[in-house]
């Protein structure tokens, strides 16, 4: 056990200087607290700026096989395009810490955005993992949908086939598209919460 780990756990045990969240997960249906994040162009975004619009959050990590599954099959790009058509804001978030798999500088992220033929609104760079932790993002991909009234209406997997095999994309139920359709039709999201699957988000320790 390293010194820093001892110190860290001592802090955790005492729960003194830190406000320890007893529950990590944000409940679906809660109002998402505003938070300012920076994108790959250095532009600041605050979730509250998007009040009145739907916002889709996608946690991503280029090196992760599950992310690859959805990008090589263009499934993620298709979902992005549908969201864009629907007037939604799409933020792809990279919470990989520097040195960890999937970490990108602004320029790298911009290049990736074009290479992949995405139609996302911005790539949010979250190397500190603050945004990831506050949403309890566990996996890549991990999807969240926030509605016009800034309420979290969906969180979980992109689809119901929890495999890394690209062949499984066809025939899987895409939860994000389903949720967007529910919202568009004026219904509540039928499946609001699923278990995300994929690689773990590569947070710094």
């Amino acid at each position: 056990m390293t010194i820093s780990r001892i110190l860290l756990s001592t802090l955790a045990v005492s729960a003194i200087a830190i406000v320890a969240p007893a529950s990590a997960k944000i409940a679906t249906g809660s109002n998402v607290s505003d938070m300012t994040v920076t994108d790959s162009d250095g532009v600041l975004h605050n979730l509250s700026d998007y009040a009145g619009k739907k916002v889709v959050l996608e946690w991503t990590n280029e090196g992760c096989p599950y992310v690859k599954k959805h990008y090589t099959t263009k499934n993620m790009q298709k979902t992005q395009a549908l969201a864009k058509e629907d007037g939604a804001v799409w933020l792809s978030i990279i919470s990989s810490a520097p040195g960890k798999q999937g970490y990108k500088t602004g320029a790298e992220a911009n290049a990736w955005k074009v290479e992949q033929g995405t139609s996302l609104s911005a790539v949010v760079l979250d190397p500190s993992g603050d945004m990831g932790r506050s949403f309890s993002a566990k996996t890549t991909p991990h999807m969240f949908i926030i509605d016009e009234s800034q309420t979290l209406v969906y969180q979980g997997a992109i689809d119901d086939n929890r495999s890394a095999n690209p062949k499984t994309v066809a025939g899987a139920k895409n939860y994000v598209i389903a949720a967007m359709e529910d919202l568009k039709a004026g219904y509540e999201v039928a499946v609001p919460d699923t278990a995300p699957y994929g690689c773990s988000v590569k947070y710094g320790s």
Binding site: V13, S14, Q101, C199
Partner: protein, 687 residues
């Protein structure tokens, strides 16, 4: 006929031996192969074949429920039509934490045994082939999906066990969790689920953990808080999304525990909506993931050190500081001896307190740090004691006078007993104060087996005594201390006033605990004590006898005080009494809630009330946000509150919880409050 059989047997023996391990396949981070309990099997026989995976160091694969991320090991069988395969017998999972993420999986060389059956009509002398197409996600800091295919031929004939692999497969099968007699239920209340379990097998359940088969039952990365009862145990943790959907009647999974140092598992089936009475005695065992013996000990050590700066200890420490200053420019050996005696006094008292705590705990009393101050008798005796010490400091009676039983002489004489008893007194008056870092350590200690409790309290004692030991051994500090002189007499007299202040505070505490009659008794006891001092100063036998009598009266008065059932309100804020049902009600209404676990004798609590909670700014914050302010007053013994404290790994107050409207479970605030911390917590900001 006989010839035929003989020929057949000869053929069997002559048949080339078939290896019971397939050619291993290296898929990158894992080497996989098939191994079998039998080299040769008879028609109609059952046997086991296992997928054996040898993982590179620090890499892991995943259990059937992979936890927060990952994907389970998968095997697809391609079999001769004479063979049928059962399900995978999953090895015991471990929790694998990475940052805020917790996975369920395996490291090392896990074996995945599967039961096979050969059909009755399989032809003797034939060979059946088992082929496994496997897939697993293997992760360290990155994840790699790997797959491959391995096959193993098995001969049909007289059974022949494989001496190499059979024991290993059997060992793996022994480890596989079995359905025992454990009876279990799971209920959800607000955002938490509680699992109650009865009929536990033999074993050590202090690190018990429930691995659900399904995702969404509970938060994989949330601590499972454990309580022991006389009949079973319960685990409380955070509920996940499955509870908002249609839930099956039972939720299955594996409960892991230890038996003789080895990890064991039992497959359990939890009845949804059922809660069993686990016969919870009032001393719950609490384990918060992350708290280890060492972190608790280090926390206790630092906590003990900081305890010296707490307001309750300061007067007594000052006396000690004075005696050190007196000696500072004298003999170093003497200072060291004094410092060690002081340390011995501190540690002995901590030891006695701990033994008392353990005794009470074993007796089923819900207790925690500062518990002795829940007794008005102890508060009264302390008040009288501090008052008498104050009188002594003022010079009402002399160090040399032959006073007995007051403790004053003991703390004042610079001899062996003096240093020792200053240490003891310092500990006793320190107990109402909780220093930062202490809460977690003490909470952990009280929930652990006795020797750990002792170890943590020892560390607390050592930390507490450390400053004087340092002073005694670092000469540069000593020489910086001022030279003794007449100022010392003045300073000593001055110290009487913090003593009196402390006595006043204790009397106030007593007024909340025991009402007006309590005040009457304690003040009378002080009168008796003063009278005793006056009498004992005279030399004659009669006055001495009378004096001793007065001392007895003082003590008798103190211990005759009993608590009234109605403790006064502790705060000026508009508040309500805390109860779990009230919290649930307010949550239903969607109001934010601030819960203040406090006690009149808790100085840290008082400081927070004074500096933060009772400030207009904070009251306005509560009004503006429509926050309900609930008080759980632990001034007198209250098992419900003690149980709730234990839930958060605490053994004492203060504890501050905030339920914001966008989070259903509470946030634990630091023990030293600030307006901003409360504001952020109510707003649901997780800083």
């Amino acid at each position: 006929m006989r010839a035929l059989i003989l020929t057949f047997l000869t053929w069997l023996m002559a048949m080339p031996a078939i290896a019971s391990q397939s050619v291993p396949v290296d898929t990158g981070k894992v080497t996989a192969s098939l191994v079998s309990t039998h080299d040769r099997i008879a028609p109609g026989q059952e046997f086991y074949i296992a997928l054996r995976t040898v993982l590179d160091e620090h890499w892991h694969t995943y259990w059937r429920n992979p936890g927060d991320s990952g994907e389970p090991v998968q095997i697809e069988w391609e079999l001769s039509d004479k063979l049928s395969a059962d399900e995978i017998n999953w090895p015991l999972p471990r929790t694998i934490p990475t940052g805020p993420i917790v996975n369920y999986g395996f490291e090392g060389a896990p074996l995945f045994p599967v039961k096979f059956k050969l059909a009755q009509d399989a032809e003797l002398g034939s060979v059946v082939t088992v082929r496994a197409n496997f897939y697993y996600l293997v992760c360290k800091d990155v994840c790699i999906p790997e797959q491959g295919s391995v096959s193993l031929p098995i001969a049909v004939g007289a059974p022949l066990e494989d001496l190499g692999w059979k024991p290993e497969i059997e060992a793996a099968l022994t480890e596989v969790p079995k359905k025992g007699n454990i009876q279990g239920g799971i209920i959800k209340a607000n955002s938490t689920v509680t699992i109650s379990l009865l009929n536990l097998p033999e074993g050590d359940f202090s690190k018990a953990y429930f691995f659900p088969y399904e995702q969404g039952v509970l938060g994989h990365s949330e601590a499972q808080i454990l309580r022991r009862g006389s009949k079973g145990l319960s685990l409380t943790t955070t509920a996940d999304y499955i509870w908002n959907e249609t839930i099956p009647e039972t939720l299955d999974g594996v409960l892991t525990y230890e038996n003789g140092e080895t990890l064991r598992g039992a497959e359990i089936s939890l009845a949804v909506g059922k809660s069993f009475d686990i016969g919870e005695v009032s001393a719950p065992e609490v384990k918060i993931a992350g708290a280890t013996l060492w972190t608790a000990i280090i926390g206790a050590l630092i906590g003990g050190l900081i305890l010296n700066l707490m307001p309750c200890v300061f007067p007594v420490i000052s006396i000690k500081a004075l005696s050190i200053a007196k000696l500072a420019h004298g003999e170093r050996g003497k200072i060291r001896r004094e410092a060690w005696l002081y340390t011995a006094g501190v540690i002995t008292t901590f030891l006695l307190l701990t033994i008392l705590l353990l005794g009470l705990k074993a007796g089923g009393t819900e207790i925690g740090w500062g518990f002795q101050l829940q007794s008005p008798k102890v508060v009264a005796i302390l008040a009288v004691l501090l008052f008498v010490i104050g009188l002594n400091l003022l010079g009402v009676f002399e160090i040399g006078s032959r006073l007995q039983n007051t403790g004053t002489k003991l703390t004042q004489s610079s001899g062996v007993a003096g240093s020792f008893f200053t240490g003891a007194l310092a500990v006793i008056v320190a107990t109402p104060c909780t220093a930062p870092l202490m809460a977690g350590a003490v909470g952990y200690a009280l929930a652990s087996p006795a020797f750990i409790t002792l170890a943590v309290f020892m560390a607390l004692g050592i930390g507490f005594a450390l400053p004087f030991l340092l002073v005694a051994y670092i000469p540069s500090i000593l020489t910086k201390l001022p030279k003794p002189g007449p100022w010392m007499e003045r300073f000593k007299e001055l110290l009487a006033f913090p003593m009196f202040a402390a006595a006043i505070w204790l009397i106030w505490v007593l007024s909340l605990q025991a009402g007006e009659s309590g005040i009457l008794f304690v003040l009378s006891a002080m009168l008796a004590a003063t009278f005793a001092i006056w009498l004992l100063k005279r030399g004659s036998m009669i006055t001495k006898t009378l004096g001793t009598l007065a001392v007895i009266v003082a003590i008798a008065l103190s211990i005759s005080i009993s608590s009234t059932s109605n403790p006064g309100t502790v705060s000026r804020l508009e508040s309500e009494a805390w109860s779990p049902s009230r919290v649930a009600e307010l949550q239903e209404q969607g109001r934010p809630i601030f819960v203040d676990f406090t006690a009149a004798w808790c100085v840290t609590c008082k400081v927070n009330e004074k500096v933060v909670l009772n400030k207009a700014k904070t009251q306005k914050l509560f009004e503006d946000t429509n926050t309900a302010f609930l008080i759980a007053d632990w001034t007198n013994k209250n098992d419900l509150i003690a149980t709730e404290l234990a839930k958060y790994g605490r053994a004492g107050v203060p504890l501050y919880l905030v339920y914001s409207n966008n989070s259903v479970s509470p946030v634990i605030l630091p023990q030293v409050l600030s307006h901003d911390v409360i504001r952020d917590a109510i707003a649901g900001e997780k800083s």
